[in-house]
Subunit: 357 residues, 4 copies
Amino acid sequence: MKRIGLLTSGGDCQALNPAMRGVVKSLMFSGEQIEIYGFLNGYQGLIYGNYRMLDVSDFSGILTRGGTILGSSRTPFKTIREPDEKGLDKVESMKHNYFKLNLDCLVILGGNGSHKTANLLREEGLNIVTLPKTIDNDLWGTDMTFGFQSAVDIATNVIDNIHTTADSHGRVFIVEVMGHKVGYLTLNAGMASGADIILIPEIPYDIDKVIEAIEQRKKRGSKFTIIAVAEGAISKKDAKLSKKEYKKKLESSPFPSVSYEIAEEIKKKTGQEVRVTVPGHMQRGGSPCPYDRVFASRLGAEAGKLILKGHYGFMVGYRNREIVKVPLEEVAGKLKKVEPDSSIVKEAKMLGISFGD
Amino acid sequence: MKRIGLLTSGGDCQALNPAMRGVVKSLMFSGEQIEIYGFLNGYQGLIYGNYRMLDVSDFSGILTRGGTILGSSRTPFKTIREPDEKGLDKVESMKHNYFKLNLDCLVILGGNGSHKTANLLREEGLNIVTLPKTIDNDLWGTDMTFGFQSAVDIATNVIDNIHTTADSHGRVFIVEVMGHKVGYLTLNAGMASGADIILIPEIPYDIDKVIEAIEQRKKRGSKFTIIAVAEGAISKKDAKLSKKEYKKKLESSPFPSVSYEIAEEIKKKTGQEVRVTVPGHMQRGGSPCPYDRVFASRLGAEAGKLILKGHYGFMVGYRNREIVKVPLEEVAGKLKKVEPDSSIVKEAKMLGISFGD
Amino acid sequence: MKRIGLLTSGGDCQALNPAMRGVVKSLMFSGEQIEIYGFLNGYQGLIYGNYRMLDVSDFSGILTRGGTILGSSRTPFKTIREPDEKGLDKVESMKHNYFKLNLDCLVILGGNGSHKTANLLREEGLNIVTLPKTIDNDLWGTDMTFGFQSAVDIATNVIDNIHTTADSHGRVFIVEVMGHKVGYLTLNAGMASGADIILIPEIPYDIDKVIEAIEQRKKRGSKFTIIAVAEGAISKKDAKLSKKEYKKKLESSPFPSVSYEIAEEIKKKTGQEVRVTVPGHMQRGGSPCPYDRVFASRLGAEAGKLILKGHYGFMVGYRNREIVKVPLEEVAGKLKKVEPDSSIVKEAKMLGISFGD
Amino acid sequence: MKRIGLLTSGGDCQALNPAMRGVVKSLMFSGEQIEIYGFLNGYQGLIYGNYRMLDVSDFSGILTRGGTILGSSRTPFKTIREPDEKGLDKVESMKHNYFKLNLDCLVILGGNGSHKTANLLREEGLNIVTLPKTIDNDLWGTDMTFGFQSAVDIATNVIDNIHTTADSHGRVFIVEVMGHKVGYLTLNAGMASGADIILIPEIPYDIDKVIEAIEQRKKRGSKFTIIAVAEGAISKKDAKLSKKEYKKKLESSPFPSVSYEIAEEIKKKTGQEVRVTVPGHMQRGGSPCPYDRVFASRLGAEAGKLILKGHYGFMVGYRNREIVKVPLEEVAGKLKKVEPDSSIVKEAKMLGISFGD
């Protein structure tokens, strides 16, 4: 008999449900008796003891469904050790609820921030297994995260649509792709959709180089240019600022995001019409793509196996095409980023894509 | 032997290519010899004599392709009679090019503005046949325009995706749907995707009614609310302003669009998090949906028939499930709008959708 | 207070759930108290008293979901008056269950066969409202049925995919589209996807004309030909047989369906490779398309209105772009078919599509 | 200056165009002058000197297009050394055309069979670079082939659709997925869509085990069962036959494919209704998925690099998330298969999926 807690934390993404289904199905088919406690809205549910008893049948038919049946929320790690507005000690409260329910294990589906908290709970003596969830693919210790390929599919589809209309009109189009710190999503969606220029946080851009790339396209006879811009794209000039200075700059900016600033600069310097599209949260929604469904199901199954064996303190990750377990202390607090001289970036450049660098 | 000019004008949309393919195929299969002159980038091509001779094979394989093989541009009707920056008389120039090429007919694919110019050219003695192109479905004289259903599909898909993520997080989400003057697209996409509140230009909203609808949803246990807002949504207060005053207000607004203003008001009055998504030009792009492909092909075929018979001066439209010809003078300058007391609006209200009125 | 029965009958299709959601939501928002009895698996549930009490929340979130939450089954009308294997009088049993539950009304979502039974129940004194469900669009009394446009989208997508591969290889491809008696689905999917030849039950084909069309394409330089064949396509020769003779012929045929027979004849007479694709039940599945979601929701809302007013004995249909009520006795037993000389068929021919006639 | 030949061979698949675009773009942007000879319809074009001079612009806009702009055909390796019907020595003819055009290199996009011929041409002194194309993912020496993920997406979508309808009706549904020798496609599409039973060539099935799995589902309350069957699925009994005997058995079978035979056995032994869906060539068509577009573009770029360096005799493959070059002699004649005891199969079983073994 195993008593399992489940929670989904952070910005939601597309294969949370298949991953949880994988955990529960693999436990069920192992013949082990299980009791499942679903904490609602991420760590909030664990802090405030807000949970729902779940039945195996709750996980039936959710393989294709986006979102999470448990709800999610962001609980900032920075303040996790501070008491809440009513004076409640959040970490103690989580421990209390875990031990009160006499759980064998807590399965946490989360991204970067959530893994810091997961590791903290491990240090506090909880049995933790985590699954790497994020559309950003920026988790250390795993080649891939679920949600990523689904988000690539959506962002690609957005740029594909813009492509048709750009082709007819002859303009510069900017599509703002999610990703504040890491550019995998923008890089892949940009390559998949034939974007001409890709701007990502890891490779600061020079606006003059961006404009040069637009002008060169015109010379080669192309009426339009499509730029995939990550939310966190940054100019070479701004990259030299301190974190504090840059934050200040952003806050005092008249533009809702960096895309609008880039658009304005291009308009000024080239006189061309520029249109900005912001698909936003759309990139987190919809049915998980088949790749993510298989991937999340496999991760879930292997998480089930770890639980059966009582191997705790791991993230179930993916390396060199095999599902592996990665110690939580190795994962927490680290970010996986696009290497500016990695093969995929070089290949993108070989295909004529400019990074504005 | 028929010498045909073709041009696509205004904001592009999804079934321009199938419609042109329909015209050309129906002429070809009639056995009539044809010469096709494709004017590039809308009326610009006609004004400046910028065209390409097209072959029947140019129309092969374009049934599924978005955009327009001819390019498009907006040429404002208001200034059509004013000379261009070099002093060129635009109307005379269009007539000149038409008659110089000895065309039998000019086929114009366009929306509201383009139909005014089309009718002007008719009055000037040109043989004109038009096809009703617009994602707004706001053309007078036809029940349906091509591009509309494809845009509904895309906007619906955007809201569907937001739905999954909204469901997980518990927030107010605003999706800004195209449509400055007319709300068909927002109304249909909103109904198709289960939006809770729909705000369209034809039904000015009261922000307190909008907030009341959000609060009622909360009382019924719903964590989130989705609002589909047309670009041209307007508050009851603003609807009382003169056109001039309202324009001034918009220009001095700190918000990029009305959606952001609504978002701000909801945040202030309810304290809830609000997210805005702007799919923008994405709604004009991508492959035409099957409905539009059939519809545009049928319109194109009937346009071919009019040309063969020498019946000029008509838009090919759709009424009561039949393709009909509508005199251009009836179409030009009129706008088809959502009637606030039409059955579809009443039915939407019966389903619990609030229009904030 | 209204006590409502709901049942979905016949082959399932894509917007059954949105339609039921429409009925329930419109009753709920009217302020009327309601009790909902969902009969399981079509008329079977009514015959055997197999039902589930449903709550308004059961209809939440099903707008985008294919299938039917009630299950469906085919109950042949021909034997409806015959007792079942245990001697149960089926009609009496349905009446018994209806009156025992003290229902105010029974809402039936069904196609052609189901409407005969619905009308029979009306004659027997039950209060009936029906909704026109079928991917075939063959119901008398309504311009459109829900499920149809979703099925067109799927069948079109199948032929689109075949198009790419056909283009690369150079073969004859046959895609078998659903429709035993009526060709609307094949006609629309064929036109939407640019099929070269369309064979439907209403227009018997001559195999030599089909081959002639293939040969003419070759002469014009086309490497491949795509034929959309309705399940019920019939040759001119076979169309002269009596119903009995034709049935016998089909039963003794070595081919699983008419597509394979046509394929064989083309192979023999032209020596060309022919491939058959049978998407089958796929055409009934998946999420309803936005068109169907709006349409089914509107029909559902108007059905709710009829129930509130106590107007029974009607199918809620669609005519000239308005939702209307159609007396059941007018609908039952009649089939709406593609007219061989209707505008859409003529337009298809104008576009060069052969019907093999 | 480089003179490059291009050919696409074998059954077509979804990312042939992006891969060729990648090769050409990377050569173009390297600054090298290039001349491109596109051989039509696979090796046929090389044998008969049937080619088209291509321009860089021919590769513009094809990133999203399925099929191949060069056409394809199967040229059986077994008879490649036999003269054609007119006595032409095929191998000599290919060499002749290669050297006559003074090519620097021939880029071959193909699957298993095509790689045998590619290696033969290498042995004959031609400079060869190949790209791994196949929806089967069965090429030795690479973790992944392009076309595979796109086909998984399509087959998954088919089963998703069947799922909705299965859910409503309560039947056994068989979906026949492409793959005569290798089951990767069926395995992945089956896992992605939640198939209950997966039958692949590498794991011979016992029909009694299949039926047992159906019965167990019934006991657990499931009305329906979905079986994903690879074209080359084989029973344990038949797996004991010699190749010759099995071929004979298949030829004399009354069933068009093994799916129909399995359907018949289930019907007989359980009395349940069984429906077979055969998506067929649909799985090779349509726009390449974003994953394949990025992947094929990267492979193409690296092929361009090999050509620039004059490194010939390699397939450009993918191992451990890096693009690598694999000597052709290692690839030719070997098949990569699903290992029955690989992790993914084990994980599928942990999720409750039966392989009928």
